[in-house]
Symmetry: C2
Amino acid sequence: MGIVTADIGITLDGFGAAADQSLEHPFGSIDEHRLHSWMFEHGDDNAAEVAAIVDAGAFVMGRNMFDPGRGDWDLSWRGWWGEDPPYHAPVFVLTHHAREPLPMEGGTTFHFVTDGLASALAQARAAAGERDVAVAGGASTINACLAAGVLDELRLHVAPFVAGLATGSRMFDGVGPLGLEPVAARHTPHVTHLTYRRA
Amino acid sequence: MGIVTADIGITLDGFGAAADQSLEHPFGSIDEHRLHSWMFEHGDDNAAEVAAIVDAGAFVMGRNMFDPGRGDWDLSWRGWWGEDPPYHAPVFVLTHHAREPLPMEGGTTFHFVTDGLASALAQARAAAGERDVAVAGGASTINACLAAGVLDELRLHVAPFVAGLATGSRMFDGVGPLGLEPVAARHTPHVTHLTYRRA
């Protein structure tokens, strides 16, 4: 059986997004270009880490990552990733609002899970078979996984700037005292990759 | 001329100390053993980083690092480090309470600076000559240096646990938006060393 992994891009002060997320500004007032330039502009420097993000048999994702800042569904919204999203596997989206599964091209199907994280993880494990389950974010979903003790490997991609926010979606908020094991650290000019395992 | 460096041990969520610092618990309710075991118990794994901390011609230190949680001086208090502190150079302690210089063995003299960070740094630069000036912490003093744009190199030593505090002395608090340049990242079993330079 695979393990449960999580990847997230954060600032030096731990923010994955500002509080004021919207469809126009999915990361709110945080500078999303600066947060993710290592991936979109300097992918050659970070090829292994970029590839690992989507190397899983199933995914779990918070609603705000699929569709930030909204309540009921606008059924015309099919995610950020175009008709062929990079997941190529089932993606279980945590939400309070039921919606029919949304099959996309290339093997990605978005499933909308209304009965909580444990259910989403169980469904993802069943779908992944021998492969890993990847928690795709955001920070609050990953924090919930850490607090629940269900995450095996956490991969932080720290962009080298301080957001300077008062509030937002911040790694480790609400996780409580928790030990992890450092297993990798690597920097490139636009990001520092830090990998931790369950202690 | 040397550069201005800073070293600090922090948790995964960025805390250098809890808010409830005292002479009995200089890091407050944070687990100081866990925060610094990389230095005191596993120093062989981290020899270069430990040695670099005191490789400077002069030091600047916040009052809470010399004598946490107190106002007026108890003149019998001579710091944590015994009669021969590891600095072997002048240490400029930021405080609101004047005190005569305190010469120790081995070349360390604590000077108590009441006219602010810029003055302490100027005195430290003058004393350091060609060598570096090291800001010894805590987080609020280092944050003040970052905010003032006077820090050339920041060395974070991230202990692999989440403190889970609501408040405390936290890296990057109040620094505001700020870019840095990642120049090194290395992990050992008990700490991850991250070095950043002025962008």
